[in-house]
């Protein structure tokens, strides 16, 4: 197998993720959430959507899907694991990333292209970028507001990968679309191999769609998977 794109009931960005990866010359396979064998996967993508209808809490039910035990096993052994939007929410619920995602500050769904700034290149999503790079990526979420209780207490500060900012690179309350803690748009685990990102890099891969800034992010991910010996 190559890259596994996990499909939960309610997932809706799986074809987009696979399409974008294919544009970059990479092959991905869709994996149903009841499958419990991901051996051979060189990378895992949890794509966006509304797994299990987002009922109860976004990501809450999905994390118990049979496939998640495998996702967790691979992630913990360092296989590049990328959660986009709903996938980010699922990784947090599963405890693979710190924090949680709650409703946007204004309690409205947000669909617009935002600017994000690269904060760290030490991740499978940003290894091909430079710190300070500004990227235009579509944001599409209702629960994109990242909270990180200081009270999970004594936890090391997270490995922030991307922050929301304005076109000059400045962050702050005004430029924060959804109320996310410290304007965080993407975080990684300590190793940088598990990443959750709220905006959708796979929606910014062709000129005709308005931006190609997502390519460098997905290229980073693809090249990380290339070095995995599955």
């Amino acid at each position: 197998m190559t890259i596994a794109v996990v499909v939960f009931p309610g997932t809706n960005c799986e074809h987009d993720a696979r399409y974008a990866l294919a544009l970059l010359g990479s092959h991905a396979e869709l994996v149903w959430h009841r499958d419990d064998d991901l051996s051979g996967a060189t990378g895992v993508v949890l794509p966006g959507g509304f797994a299990h209808g987002d009922y109860l809490r976004t990501g809450a039910i999905a994390r118990f899907s049979p496939v998640m035990a495998e996702v967790e096993r691979l992630a913990r052994q360092g296989t590049p694991t990328l959660g986009i939007c709903n996938g980010f929410q699922i990784l947090c619920e599963a405890g693979l990333l710190p924090g949680a995602l709650v409703a946007n500050r204004d309690l409205r769904f947000i669909c617009r292209t935002v600017t994000v700034r690269v904060e760290s290149t030490d991740s499978i999503l940003t290894s091909h970028t430079s710190v300070g790079d500004l990227l235009q990526i579509p944001l599409n979420s209702y629960e994109g507001n990242y909270v990180l209780p200081a009270a999970i207490d004594g936890a090391p500060s997270p490995n922030v990968v991307l922050r929301y900012c304005d076109s000059s690179g400045a962050s702050g309350k005004q430029m924060n679309p959804n109320g996310s803690t410290d304007s965080i748009a993407a975080v990684a685990d300590a190793n940088g191999t598990i990443v959750g990102v709220m905006p959708h890099p796979e929606r910014a891969v062709e000129d005709i769609l308005g931006s190609t800034d997502g390519r460098v992010l997905l290229e980073s991910f693809v090249s990380a998977t290339a070095s995995v010996v599955a």
Binding site: G49, F50, C111
Partner: protein
């Protein structure tokens, strides 16, 4: 006489004549469940009894039409085996009762119409009409409707690519919520609703059946209707986008694997409608076992189960040897399924509960034998007074002051407060997103593109239903043409007041004449539509509000289609098409500045329209910006380009009157070229650049200040 004393059929909204027709047809008095079925299937909503005699004027015999009106959605041929399915539907009343759930279930319903045909739903549009936003209840309705569409559309995973919105007092007690959907498929995936094959099995897929939306039937079902009972019988339907998403995937897989003979979604009148339509359309009968239906709550009567409008359900007709596969696919997608019926050689639909026959009616009669009314119509007397006066327009208009007021209008100001709540980038097809004219989608793996614009104009249609309706067709055609797409097919949603009022019926007849005429002029087939009558509250009818959804098609699609944000410093501004000719009736100027509504809007010449549209489609392949002049006239069209591109402009020799005039068939083009290669009339009126909206002698405005007003028009009211 109280409602309890009335005979059953009257309580269900049936006239005595209609009841007699049922008796004639059956040769006996109907059983309880049968009466419930006829009452719903013969209702205005299901049978189109007041409109059908007029809908024949729409043409759909163009060679690219694969499926015309009558099926769940219209289907057109895009070449190379690709088909597009389109459909529009209203959810006006439910959205007034409960805006969030009403609008949400409207989205769910229209999507089912699309995937019933075999197509994957790929986009939605939402034409909306509300009362003025200074009334908090209207704000509540707008907020709820938008959150309902967002909540359902985003979660089910179908992007909403645009829509439109109008505000007028007549919609305060009767908002209009229309939804249009577009689907895409390969030819071999097309499925229709006509059942065939004696012994084939009807499989009910999806949600469990509950007491949702049971109106008439529940009154009948309980011999005594006591206060407090309504608790048990909610009329409000609750949508479940998660179930629908699974249902979409399951059905598409069924089609892919060729496992269904026919399929039908469950809408109004639920199981009774879906079973009778599939059987009736195929000239067959069906035996239905009510006890096999998977239900949500115990104790439902057969009548309730038959009539329930629980959402997210489909009825598939399957050959016996494929039943196991169908059930397996349902199980894999985690949806429930039950075998509820068997196709017979007919002609009757027979319904059994606990082994007892509870209904036995000719299947086709529910749809085909519905009454038809050629209702009297009469030109309204209000028209004379309206036509005898003209909007008062001064010779000198203070452009800055006027434009500021127009930009602050919530129907002119930036509508991204609405569209940004909708996912409009899913599926990686969106080339032109909401905020321009038509939205444009590519078809991946081809050079083809599809553009869609939804348009209505209730004020002009009120002033002159024929012209008003025709003009929205031409406007929608221009909206798709500016993206490079040829007007290709149309669906219409006819929202009107009470058809028993001859003046409303006259509006309807005139408006449908206007629509049919305009479509013929453009050679655009009408492939489907929806009629919503009785939009009337306390005796006040809404403004007549026909709405169209125009599909445009291009092959190839322009490499870089025109966009408002491609305007740059130094580009020339051109006005293409007709010259302004003082068309202020129904204009934004008259509505907002004068606060009046009068006069008679201009007519459109078909040949002029055809010529303009053809040249605009051609220009779209090299002109960076094309934007039609519509609400608010040239001034608003130019301002929108400036706001979206961030570049100011200066136009010369355009008078205040010309700036706000709303003469149709005009387009702004912006380009670096020294001339425009086109045969239609054109005139260079100015140049892009600077940080002002410059109107020459007529004055100027600061770009960023004007932009703030425009951007905040809707949000400031909704805060």
């Amino acid at each position: 006489m109280t409602i309890q004393d009335k005979p059953d059929h009257q309580r269900l909204g049936m006239t005595d004549d209609e009841y007699d027709a049922v008796i004639d047809l059956l040769g006996r008095t109907p059983r309880t469940a049968e009466l419930a079925m006829y009452s719903v299937m013969w209702s205005e909503h299901c049978s189109y009894k007041s409109s059908r005699v007029h809908l024949g004027k729409f043409r759909s015999d163009q060679p690219w039409v694969v499926v015309g009106p009558g099926e769940n959605a219209g289907v057109v041929d895009l070449g190379d085996g690709w088909l597009a399915a389109l459909r529009i539907e209203s959810h006006n009343h439910p959205s007034f009762v409960e805006p969030h759930e009403g609008a949400a279930t409207g989205v769910g319903g229209i999507l089912r119409d699309i995937f019933t045909m075999g197509a994957r739903p790929i986009a939605l549009w939402d034409p909306l009409r509300f009362g003025p936003l200074d009334d908090p209840h209207n704000r509540y309705l707008l907020d709820g409707v938008v959150s309902g569409i967002a909540g359902y559309g985003n979660a089910v995973g179908v992007p909403t690519l645009g829509g439109e919105v109008e505000f007028a007092d007549r919609f305060s007690r009767n908002p209009l919520v229309n939804v249009m959907a577009l689907g895409l498929m390969k030819r071999e995936q097309l499925v229709l609703s006509a059942a065939s094959g004696v012994g084939n099995i009807a499989v009910l897929l999806g949600n469990a059946t509950g007491r949702d939306g049971i109106g008439g039937a529940s009154i009948l079902a309980s011999a005594s209707f006591e206060a407090g009972d309504e608790e048990k019988r909610p009329n409000v339907q609750v949508g479940d986008p998660f179930e629908e998403k699974k249902l979409i995937e399951a059905c598409l897989e069924l089609y892919d694997r060729g496992l269904v003979v026919a399929i039908q979604d469950l809408g109004a009148a639920g199981i009774s409608c879906a079973t009778s339509e599939t059987a009736g359309n195929g000239g067959m009968g069906m035996d239905v076992d009510i006890d096999a239906v998977h239900v949500r709550e115990p104790g439902m009567t057969p009548g309730e189960i038959l009539m329930s409008e629980s959402q997210e359900r489909m009825l598939a007709i399957v050959t016996p040897e494929h039943v196991e596969d169908v059930l397996a696919i349902a199980a894999r997608w985690e949806i429930d399924a039950s075998q509820i019926g068997t196709i017979t050689d007919g002609p009757d639909l027979r319904v059994f509960a606990e082994g007892r026959l509870v209904a036995e009616v000719p299947a086709a009669s529910l749809a085909d034998d519905a009454p038809r009314y050629d209702r009297p119509y009469e030109r309204p007397c209000y028209l004379n007074a309206l036509w005898d006066s003209e909007p008062a327009i001064p010779d000198e208009i203070d452009v800055a002051k006027t434009l500021n007021l127009l930009l602050d209008d919530p129907a002119i100001g930036d509508r991204s407060w609405i569209s940004s709540q909708y996912d409009h980038t899913l599926f990686l097809n969106t080339v032109i997103e909401p905020g321009h004219d038509g939205s444009l989608l590519r078809i991946k793996g081809t050079h083809k593109g599809m553009a869609v614009s939804t348009d209505g104009d209730s004020l002009r249609t009120y002033l002159d239903p024929r012209r008003g309706a025709a003009r929205i067709v031409f406007e929608s055609a221009l909206n798709v043409a500016v993206t490079g797409a040829q007007p290709y097919a149309l669906v219409d949603n006819l929202n009107f007041g009470n058809p028993e009022n001859p003046e409303v019926m006259w509006q309807f007849v005139e408006a449908t004449d206007g629509l049919a005429w305009a479509c013929e002029e453009l050679n655009v087939p009408v492939v489907g539509g929806n009629v919503s009558f009785y939009n009337q509250t306390d005796g006040v009818d809404i403004y007549p509000a026909p709405v169209v959804g125009m599909l445009g098609f291009c092959d190839p699609m322009p490499d870089r289609p025109p966009r408002l944000d491609r305007a740059e410093q130094g580009m020339g501004i051109w006005l293409i098409g007709q010259e302004a000719s003082d068309d202020f009736s129904g204009s934004a100027y008259d509505r907002i500045i004068n606060g009046t509504l009068r006069g008679r809007p201009l007519d459109v010449d078909g040949a002029t329209a055809r010529e303009l549209i053809a040249s605009v489609v051609e220009m779209a392949f090299d002109v960076p910006v094309l934007h039609d002049v519509s609400v608010g006239g040239l001034a608003v069209a130019l301002a929108e380009i400036a706001f979206v591109s961030g570049t100011g402009f200066r136009v010369d020799d355009v008078s205040g009157r010309e700036l706000f005039d709303e003469t149709p068939l005009r387009v702004v083009a912006i380009t670096h070229e020294r001339d425009l290669e086109t045969s239609v009339p054109r005139r260079r009126i100015g140049t892009m650049g600077g940080d002002q909206l410059g109107f020459g002698a007529a004055g100027s405005m600061d770009l960023s200040a004007a932009r703030r007003i425009w951007a905040d028009a809707l949000p400031r009211r909704m805060r």
